[in-house]
């Protein structure tokens, strides 16, 4: 079972995230991070307004949604966001499970919250 992944309606995106989920289950975190990063970029390309969208934090303040993307080695390049052509730079070759889970959970939650 993929749990809440079933709540993602966009078939292509769900398939991509399911692939990442499979990598997590097989303890292949680096592969999972690569696939999740692609999935997140595809979300931004499909809905460019997300690049400018702000989300409310629990302290009542708002920050850009893209700033919540974890910076754990698969880093969203700020200049690329400003230019409207988002890019993720991989500054590491290898990721661990907790990092991959963090990227995966963030992306699935965002997909659900943004009703993909």
């Amino acid at each position: 079972m993929a749990g809440k992944l079933d709540r993602v309606r966009d078939e292509a995106l769900r398939a991509r995230l399911a692939e990442a989920h499979q990598h997590l289950r097989q303890q292949q975190p680096t592969d999972a991070v690569r696939v999740v990063s692609d999935a997140f970029l595809s979300m931004l390309c499909q809905r460019p307004e997300l690049l400018r969208k702000s989300v409310q934090m629990r302290n009542g303040l708002t920050i850009p949604l893209v700033m919540r993307w974890p910076m754990l080695g698969a880093n969203l390049v700020p200049e690329s966001v400003e230019a409207g052509t988002p890019r993720i730079d991989f500054v590491r070759d290898r990721f661990v499970l907790s990092e991959a889970i963090t990227y995966y959970e963030f992306t699935v939650d965002t997909a659900i919250a943004e009703e993909f």
Binding site: R58, L72, E105
Partner: protein, 416 residues
Amino acid sequence: MKFGLFYELQLPRPYDASTWDPDAERRIYHEMLEQVELADRLGFDYVFEVEHHFLEEYSHSSAPELVMAALSQRTRNIRLSHGIVLTPPPYNHPARVAERIAALDLLSGGRVEFGTGESGSAMEMGGFHVERGLKKAMWEEATREVCNMMVCDPYGGFEGEFFSMPARNVIPKPIQKPHPPLWVACSRRETTMVAARLGMGSLGFGFETPEETGERVAEYWRLVREECFPIGHAINPALAVLNTFMVADTDEEAISRSAGGPGFFAYSLGYYYNPRTGGAHQPARENLYRRYRDLPQAEQDGRVTLEQARLLSREQIAKDEPTDEVQRALFRAARAGSAIGTVDTIRQNIKRYEEAHLDVLILVAQCGDRKHEHIMESIERFGTEVLPEFKERHGTHTAWRREQLEGVEHLVNSTI
């Protein structure tokens, strides 16, 4: 549901002086010992203490293992919980962590809970040369190896990305087998799901409402059952959240006694964890408490009530609120499930966490400029007037947990 106390060992500077009274740090350490001794006598289940470095005023708790060692000799039953140990190797060599956890377990008769984490403040990461983008990888590698060191006889050595050491027998070994229950600090929602997948208790440091807690519970337990790859040699399925805490004869009095606590907590937390302010901190030259108190009163109140309201969104806060200031504060506290008020108010508010199947509610009593005598009174009244009924009902929760764990083949060493 079980209950714990939480300690950052906060010490605001005096408003009108550049540094503390020479006795101030000694005083808060000894007050904490007194508070936890009382909590132990009254049947509180856990005390959690943080490890932070250089975060003046916000946390003077940089050597929790020593405080825990003192507590191990002054208490009989309360669980001594690291909330958390910073496990990235630049902070603490993994072998030293394993040795200290085991030694404390021996001294306390097997009462240690091993909370782990990585912290995210610029002051700490910069002070120990921890790169922000690597801290989670460091945490995972080191935490796994600490567990191995507590179990393997001898430990076979390790060549990792962030530390290495030859084969050694890391001694002593803990009383609790295979090792004390494992936790991880979770200030982001995603980390709770990391905890589930790695078989760790989730220390929810984000002041969640009962409703937010309820949303996480089902997914957490599903992951424990279906997708768990334990980081240690036994799993500790458990969810804990923080809650602000102050008991008094009336709700208004509790709010009044509490006012400078959570407000300062939120302010100083925001200051140190925002890279722009925390990264520019001038050591020993700032007075955060004065900055906080110099905020316009409405903003101070706003911070207090936002914190009491567990940081609900502004739209949520604005909806249906009373106009009277005190009534509004109480309204927000109730909506957030806050543990501030009379024993009746608190009982009613926190019951919602129990209904959400929370395992541990961790009460933040010592913070900001709250007074020791008020904290002692709160612990006493909560322990005698609220705690007993929750203890009576805990069997129901234990049965629910058994159902959740059906089919789980991993060894479980949880103290819930």
